[in-house]
């Protein structure tokens, strides 16, 4: 005999089980309609697969599981779906939910595939546990003890399972559904246990827990336990030993941790009804479309268990049992301890309906009014979860949720033992249920508010970022505008305020110089690159010449004079371009040749450094010297060269060098009196220096000009630009260019500017 632990606390209310076990599990005639709630389990509602008016066969899938914690539902019989609408469902709230209404056609014809498998699986050991779990899930099997948790999820626990417990306790008064099942179908139940054991990987221990008030069930099961490792354990009848956690403690002495699951201690618990349904699903291929339900209570003439189709209205059940509505003040679904009152007789039987209790007023009297708590402590003795019901009661009354949490309110299994023993008739469990609901709501609100805060703060950060970006842009624009204004101001004020102009005029001039230098630097490529470029240009030009000549040659003799002329002009043009390119290449070669001695990197750097460090005058002198050298080299080359074009090119180069030399000499002469020598870079042959010189000259000219002169200059330049723009516009009009609008608006703008400038000029002169 196995050691059995005692249930902590608990009560022993009158059992009232004998009434409904007198006759075997019966069947009822087919009801006129079946109402099948879409969601009969804990978890996500399944996905509807049928439409109104559709004809379905028995076992056909009406809705398929959607999500992990979900199961499907099936047609309990063949018939037509008359409605998919909201209908009251068995729930303490009495609320309505989405239901499928099925009108049976009376044929009760099975669907071909019987839902999942054609004829069920004969040898389930050939299938993998995952396959079997999927069949269980597709067959819509949920915990039939009351909670309705999908069995496949429970059996698919990742933790290793050492103990499988089959819950045959059925501790609540009146209910005998599992008892009758065990008495009448022990073989099927044992078969179901074997399937469960296989799915769970053959746990070491398999226990069937049964209370000592069901000796018939015990005797019925016992013969089938030979040659199995299944152990039937009987223990004292006491409510609520059928609670999952309580049963685990009675049979193994282990306690499920706070907030944990039985799987955390290596245990899985299954109800007798569920085990039977799993067996039917796996071996007969029959989905969960009916269940055993007890119909009992003195308001019914016959008390009996029935195999009821899911969706059968309760009124149909009661009708066939001689229900007297006048005797029954309230109808209860479930047991008297944990059940709830039904408001509507049309509520259907669902997968978790184990009992319909129709008691008379004497049988289940209305509790007398609650009296103040006398602190007797009986509730604490009765509590199977070792809680302090009295403390919880005080905190629930004062809505002190923090303390309720600290006193582990969520470990309460709502068995109602405390309410049952309370001498003051305080509905303790109702306080706990209400507080739990309130705390769940607050927790959800907290989550929502945290998310709202996060979103709000994110939005704030985003807006700040956008604002900063905008501000930066504004700042940049402002700066640019200021610069432009400063430039304009220096232009106009330059000559007016003689002394002050120096500073204001010099800064824009410097800017211009810098800009020019940057441009020149960007344009100036290394000699190699230049050479490459030129070579490419030459080859292009040559090919162009060739092609033009071909065209010329290919011209028909009868071609007009004009055409011929055009072609000739094109050839000449191409030749000219070629020559130009060749000359440039020669130029480049020359310059690189003469620079060759110090072309290596470090020496070039040194030379540059020297150039920078040297005073302008020295630099110029040095340059003159190098130029002279180069001229000498070029002259030698000319003398050596015999090729006609090369000589020409060299001569050209020589000329250029000579002009450069002259320039340099002139500059040298000027250098001593140049005050802004530092701004001028030593490399006068550079494009940058040319631009600098130009800019300086312009700045100087502007500085020396009077306002009037400046305005005049502006007007003149504007007039020039306008003229050009107008020319462009006319040419564009002739060609029908698509940019004609742009040209026109440009002209208009220029005209506006010009008139403004003219007006200003007129003002100045007056």
């Amino acid at each position: 005999m196995r050691k059995v632990w005692d249930l902590i606390g608990g009560v022993h209310p009158p059992e009232n089980k004998h009434q409904s076990v007198q006759s075997s599990i019966g069947t009822l005639p087919m009801p006129k309609e079946l109402v099948i709630p879409l969601s009969q389990h804990i978890g996500a509602p399944p996905k509807l697969l049928v439409a109104e008016g559709e004809h379905v066969l028995k076992g056909q899938v009406l809705a398929e599981p959607k999500g992990f914690v979900s199961v499907g539902i099936h047609a309990p019989t063949s018939g037509v779906i008359s409605a998919i609408s909201d209908h009251p469902i068995p729930h303490p709230s009495g609320m309505a939910a989405r239901c499928i209404t099925l009108i049976p056609d009376g044929e009760d014809r099975w669907v071909e595939t019987k839902g999942i498998e054609t004829k069920g699986i004969e040898n389930y050991r050939e299938r993998s546990p995952e396959e079997l779990l999927n069949i269980i899930r597709q067959s819509g099997i949920v915990g039939m003890g009351g909670a309705g948790f999908p069995s496949a999820v429970k059996l698919g626990a990742r933790q290793p399972i050492s103990t499988l417990i089959i819950n045959g306790t059925e501790c609540e008064p009146y209910i005998t559904a599992d008892d009758m099942l065990m008495r009448e179908r022990p073989q099927e139940i044992i078969e179901g246990i074997k399937i469960l054991s296989y799915i769970l990987g053959e746990p070491e221990e398999i226990l069937i827990g049964i209370e000592d008030n069901k000796p018939e069930a015990y005797e019925a099961l016992e013969p089938y336990l030979k040659d199995t490792n299944i152990e039937l354990v009987e223990f004292q009848t006491r409510y609520p030993s059928g609670g999952e956690k309580q049963l685990i403690q009675i049979l193994t002495g282990k306690e499920v941790p706070n907030g944990g699951l039985p799987a955390d201690v290596g245990i899985v618990c299954q109800n007798i009804g569920t085990t039977h349904a799993i067996k039917r699903a796996i071996q007969q291929g029959e989905p969960l479309i009916s269940r055993v339900t007890t119909v009992t209570g003195k308001a019914c003439q016959t008390n009996r268990n029935y195999q009821v189709l899911i969706g059968t209205p309760i009124s149909h059940l009661l009708e066939h049992n001689g229900f007297d509505a006048n005797q029954c003040p309230r109808l209860v679904m479930g047991g008297p301890m944990m059940g709830f009152t039904l408001e509507d007789l049309n509520i259907p039987v669902v997968k978790t309906t184990n009992c319909i209790l129709a008691p008379t007023a004497e049988e289940l009297p209305t509790p007398p009014p609650a009296q103040p708590c006398i602190r007797c402590g009986m509730c604490a003795e009765a509590c199977p979860a070792s809680l302090l019901p009295q403390q919880l009661f005080w905190y629930a009354q004062s809505q002190n949720y923090e303390r309720l949490e600290a006193h582990s309110l969520f470990d309460c299994i709502e068995c109602g033992a405390c309410s049952y023993v309370c001498p003051s008739n305080i509905p303790l469990v109702q306080y706990y249920r209400a507080s739990k609901g309130e705390m769940r709501k607050l927790a959800q609100e907290k989550i929502n508010s945290d998310r709202a805060r996060e979103r709000f703060e994110f939005q704030k950060a985003r807006k700040e970022k956008e604002e900063a970006a905008k501000a930066a842009k504004r700042e940049a624009r402002k700066k640019a505008a200021e610069q432009a204004r400063a430039k304009a101001a220096s232009n106009t004020e330059g000559s007016k305020e003689g002394n002050a102009s120096d500073k204001t005029a010099s800064s824009p001039a410097d800017d211009i110089i810098k800009a020019a230098m940057a441009r020149a630097a960007a344009q100036k490529a290394s000699p190699e690159e230049q050479r490459e470029k030129l070579k490419r240009g030459i080859s292009r030009a040559e090919s162009h010449v060739e092609s033009v000549q071909k065209r010329l040659n290919g011209l028909e003799p009868e071609a007009t004079e004009k055409q011929r002329e055009q072609a000739l002009a094109a050839v000449e043009d191409a030749q000219l371009r070629l020559k130009d390119a060749q000359q440039k290449l020669a130029d480049l070669k020359l310059s690189t040749d003469s620079d060759a001695p110090d072309s290596s990197q470090p020496s070039t750097e040194k030379a540059v450094m020297a150039k920078i460090q040297a005073s302008p005058k020295e630099a110029l002198e040095k340059k003159i010297a190098t130029l002279k050298e180069r001229i000498a080299v070029t002259e030698e080359k000319i003398a050596e060269a015999d090729d006609e074009p090369l000589t020409a090119a060299l001569k050209n180069g020589l000329e250029k060098q000579q002009t450069k030399l002259k320039d340099a000499e002139q500059q040298l002469a000027e250098t001593p009196d140049q005050s802004a020598a530092q701004t001028a870079t030593p490399e006068t042959e550079d494009a940058a220096s040319a631009a600098i010189a130009k800019a300086q000259a312009k700045a100087a000219a502007q500085a020396s000009m009077s306002d009037e002169d400046k305005l005049k200059a502006t007007v003149e330049s504007l007039q020039n630009r306008l003229k050009k723009a107008q020319e462009k516009l006319t040419s564009a009009e002739e060609e029908g260019s698509e940019h004609i609008d742009a040209f026109r608006s440009g002209v208009e703008k220029l005209q506006a500017k010009l008139t403004a400038a003219e007006a200003q000029l007129a003002q100045e002169t007056h």
Binding site: H91, P92, S93, M95, A97, P329, R330, V332, G334, G335, P336, M337, M338, G339, F340, T341, E343, L357, A361, L364, T366, P367, P369, A370, Q371, P372, A396, Q397, E414, G416, S419, Y420, S424, I426, P427, V429, Q430, Y431, R433, A434, S435, K436, G437, E438, R440, K441, E445, N448, S449, D450, R451, A452, R453, R455, F456, E457, F458, Q459, K460
Partner: protein, 216 residues
Amino acid sequence: MYDIIAQNPLSAALVALVGLSVIFGAVLGYAAVKFKVEGDPIVEQIDSLLPQTQCGQCGYPGCRPYAEAIANGDTINKCPPGGQTTINAIADLLDVEAPTLDEEHGEESDVKTVAYIREDECIGCTKCIQACPVDAILGAAKLMHTVIISECTGCDLCVEPCPVDCIDMLPVAKGLGDWKWDMPVSPEDQIKGLDTSGIIATDKIASDKTDGDQAA
């Protein structure tokens, strides 16, 4: 050394005390710099109690600014969405007497509402999108907008800017998931016969018939 102390007890004590105060001052000063708390922890705590609707009914642009204002001494009864529960919680935190809600800032409502846009009427002006403090409105210029109901805090701020008045504040649909048991009537009320509900079967008074029986 001892002689000097014995001869000048007063100055010796003075020196000792000054010395101690200097040492402790240095320690405290160091600790104040080293273990400086970033931000104001009380603001965080108050902020976590506020409902985060960001509705601005309190007169501050969001819950956090109001939390800061409370930390700086503003009254705690300006939050209608939070209602008395929030006021009580803040009062508890600050250890002050819990005042009743200041009706000036709005009334507490039991029914939680969220915004719905009548989508056919929406002209796509994006004004409500800009007004939403939690980015719960989806849409683009000249395209229909819609509210992400699960993210809507029911703050009301989008209703006013809508030029075509197509935003409704509707109560949140109550489903089975939201249902919870009611608190039982207190023993006093039950004695007065005000109990109308029950919990487990044994506690339920369902029909008028039973009440009649009881009376009889």
